[in-house]
Symmetry: C2
Subunit: 584 residues, 2 copies
């Protein structure tokens, strides 16, 4: 037996006991006749003491040869520590060592195994197994486990059944790019890895499973933006015989449970906001409502003077930055530079200071008098001491720009507090969105989303106006889940495929099984999927999903630790009836 | 709201309530003025009654148009049933319908949605979503969910952390064939889907996670034998600072817990048997010990007469078939035909009847007298009324043949009882096994398995004799789990790769990251993986894993429901820098 106890449990009540511990050498203080060693494992740190007066000579010698990250086994007696550490569970005791054996030596690690390491991202990823030894990384993974256990137990108690759906499925051209898997046994044919178990969960509803969930890996071969992974995990859910209201209540319940159980935060009300309102008030469909700075549309109060920039704009819109009047001219100029960067793309920014004496000072005083600026303040809700920031231009663009500014300012002002949680349902999403690239409408959610009752006819007259019972759950400005009520009859589904540009033959070849299924008594159904990586990160008070994934890939989709992907043997290609066709 | 109650909960206490139910039409009895409908959902069946005297006329008409598997919503009053059905939860009541609406019609299903269906395997797989509506299939999936929840909660309480390891990893030539995934972003390179998370779980141990588990899909591109799937699910576990004894105790604990919680069966002792003993006593390494028929080796008592077949055999070995003396001559001849089939390959069988009067009658009376046969009975443990079956030949072959015969006879005699559970640890597996195909030794478990302490030197003198701390957990004649203590130092691992025919360059290219990791303080570790599909099937009292998989593939690796794999678009191939290279 390698140990009688972990390194995180011995305390004063164990004094006098003989114990055996195993773990890693965290730290050594060697005074020659006294050697202290901090022994670490997942559960904590226990201090060992080698004392020339009391520890056998050969063990003193062995102890003097230890190095950082050596793996050792120690036997000794629990004794009271002279200088206690009240911040550690084991801080009252130490182990007077009588035996030490080195289980494995260690080279000097490429970075320090400390909470604040000196290792950069690349190095930590290459040696991820050492990075995981660090408390914050390990605790994140344990945190993730706690969240998934809480999810599973909650849903299971609510009669949801976790059903495993297949990973080797069929490639479909709709949506993002599939990863494909050549089939050796079926020459010239390919499986695809699922982007989500969407059709399978719908078939489970047709099959009468009633309530399904699955915590499941999904795959998308996209050009990776920052903080995206080619493989990611979903909490995938579906219910039959439900309306949107049932779904919102069910998953609001799950989220409320998680916030309570994991974060100790009680949130009674999950506000709801339409997609249109979210865009109008916050400039995007996943607003962070932990703080205000709601948009004020200023067309009415700003387009009556000679300021052509505003008069020619589709939308003039501003926000009140709380306490922003303290910004210096230089700070404001920097802010303007920031929003003019190509990533944001604003052409400029108008601002008005709200002085403490009730007067205003704006960058467009030439055009607008105090009464005008007072109207701006009223519309944006600005108080004395605030700064009003105003952008103008094409509606969709300017909303996005002001949204980016709002988030940046909130970040700078410390309004995005990691331990504060503000969930929000965004509902009534459009069914379709215009795709400039292909010059046609695409399904905003996916082609299985049902239009709102009665809006099917709108498809042929004003497709952009068709709304769906589609909803996103937003938490602290991040979409953590999304879903919809599905189409459950063959005719509507065929119509939708037709509308999305599938020929009947294509629709049949790719989704014939689903449309067939709809003919055999498909119940009304709908669902939702949470992005687990994101959810866990936000509950953990962070926004970088990579910190909550054991072995993440980099932005080129590479695992730099195992060095994958990699070339394969020529025989493997031949067996798969493939050959390389390199462009370079 | 589609329903106030499910179809499995209303009883006499609800009489008088107005309720709304939804579900599928299971059965209709139409007497014109009275129509009974059995309404089904996942939770049960509730009887509806449409009564011309009490149900609105248009609803009577609607009811008369219902068909099997129509999806309907019904509102009505709970009333007492005239002829009660004590076998159903809802058997005391029925719903007097006042409103019915058809939510979706159904074509006539291609097979009946009944517990005993008229659908064959192929049809059921093509319409798996209808198959899942059948109670036994649905209940199997719910059963699987219950097992996985029990596994997760048990391991989680024991401080195991479920960590997700990546699905897009690197191909390695060792072991079975990988499924590969071409990388678009890394031209000419491929990911592989994991055959198991083996190296990652070992790295998690190097990373100090201490106790890891994961219920995870694994992939093997093998030519599929019956009841194998290209994707399958493992309960994958690993522990640090443990010896074999710790692992056996931990997972014996898990299995005991499952048998108790899922099957209500208490099993105190999990017997242990060495690999060598298992072969000697049962002819294979996963013996079903629910029944006896242990092998008796007869060389000593059968090679002293003039019977050349036995005298020339490496092994003469028999079993006593309980009550087998009742077999007719014809039945025995059939048994002999059975073992001579090419799948078994025996050349013949000698038998001896143990008569009730204590005498014997054998097929080799010419060579052996009563005293000889009495010795056979003693060695095989045969009693009066039994039949002794004896095979002979090359040791390994004849053991396999007699093992097959033993299992077949147990099946015929009803000794393999589904509700009886006999777990067994088979331990001390050989480290290596001889592979005739390649003419060299291969790792029996995998190349990360550690030889038993002190046996490393044997590798160069008598490799076949080297034993490992490798173990299988056997349940009712099926291997449900297996694992080993791993190598945790670079030198031994390098030696092992060398022994298995890897050049140092190959070893470094494929597993360099693991050997690097071993240099930074790898702890002693080991683990085990359960085959979840098999485990669930056996706990469920069956042996066909396909019955416990929602969407299984057929023996050609095809999903006949979605028709995958399938050709992909030429552009997809081009994007992946690939072209087809068809053999046919």
């Amino acid at each position: 037996m390698y140990r009688t106890h972990s390194n995180g449990e011995l305390n004063a009540s164990n004094i006098g006991q003989e114990v055996t511990l195993s773990g890693w050498v965290q730290k050594i203080r060697d005074k020659g006749f006294l050697i202290w060693v901090d022994l670490r494992d997942r559960y904590g740190i226990t201090q060992l003491i080698f004392d020339a007066d009391r520890t056998p000579k050969e063990m003193m010698e062995a102890a003097s040869e230890l190095g950082r990250e050596f793996v050792i086994q120690v036997t000794g007696t629990v004794i009271e520590r002279e200088s206690k550490n009240p911040n550690m569970i084991t801080g009252d005791i130490e182990i007077l060592a009588t035996m030490v054996s080195i289980l494995n030596k260690s080279l000097t690690p490429p970075f320090t195994i400390e909470d604040d390491t000196d290792g950069g991202e690349d190095l930590r990823m290459k040696y991820r197994y050492l990075d995981i030894r660090r408390n914050p990384v390990r605790e994140n993974l344990i945190f993730r486990h706690k969240v998934t256990m809480a999810v599973r137990n909650y849903l299971s108690e609510k009669n949801f059944v976790e059903v495993e759906t297949p990973y080797l499925i069929k490639s479909t051209p709709e949506g993002a790019r599939d990863f494909v898997v050549p089939s050796r046994m079926n020459e010239g044919q390919f499986y695809a890895l699922p982007q989500s178990p969407q059709t399978f969960k719908q078939l489970l509803m047709v099959g009468g499973m009633d309530k399904y969930f699955q915590i499941v890996k999904c795959f998308r071969d996209e050009d990776l933006r920052a903080d995206r992974q080619p493989e990611f995990t979903q909490i995938d859910c579906e219910m039959a015989f439900i309306e949107q209201e049932d779904i919102l209540n069910t998953f609001e319940g799950l989220t409320r449970h998680l916030l309570k159980k994991i974060n100790g935060v009680e949130i009674e009300i999950f506000p709801r906001m339409t997609y249109d309102d979210a865009l109008k008030k916050y400039g995007n469909d996943k607003p962070d409502i932990r703080f205000g700075m709601e948009f004020g549309e200023l067309n009415e109060v700003a387009q009556h003077k000679d300021f052509g920039v505003f008069n020619n704009a589709e939308l003039v819109v501003g926000i009140a930055v709380p306490g922003g009047n303290t910004f210096t001219r230089k700070e404001i100029d920097k802010l303007i530079d920031w929003i003019k960067r190509p990533q944001i793309g604003a052409l400029g920014m108008v601002y008005a200071r709200c002085n403490d004496d009730g007067t205003f000072k704006s960058s467009v005083d030439k055009f607008y008098d105090q009464a005008d600026l007072a109207s701006w303040a009223k519309v944006t809700g600005a108080q004395k001491g605030d700064l009003i920031c105003v952008l103008s231009g094409e509606k969709n663009k300017v909303r996005g720009q002001l949204s980016a500014l709002r988030m940046e300012l909130a970040e700078r002002l410390g309004l995005r507090k990691a331990n504060e949680f503000a969930p929000l349902w965004v509902i009534d999403f459009p069914l379709l969105e215009w795709d400039k690239g292909t010059g046609r409408y695409h399904a905003m959610h996916h082609p299985f989303t049902s239009p709102k009752p009665g809006q099917l006819a709108l498809l042929s007259t004003n497709p952009g106006k068709v709304r769906a019972n589609a909803y996103d759950l937003v938490l602290n400005g991040n979409e953590i889940g999304g879903g919809s009520i599905r189409i459950h009859d063959k005719e509507t589904q065929a119509l939708m495929f037709d509308y999305l540009g599938f020929t009947p033959e294509e629709a049949k070849a790719q989704f014939g099984f689903l449309m067939d299924a709809f003919q055999y008594g498909a119940p009304p159904h709908g669902g939702l999927a949470f992005g687990l990586d994101r959810l866990v990160a936000i509950l953990g008070g962070q926004e970088t999903i990579r910190d909550y994934i054991a072995f993440p890939k980099n932005n080129s989709g590479r695992d730099v630790m195992i060095d994958a992907p990699a070339p394969i043997a020529a025989e493997q290609l031949t067996e798969l009836s493939l050959q390389l066709n390199l462009k370079s």
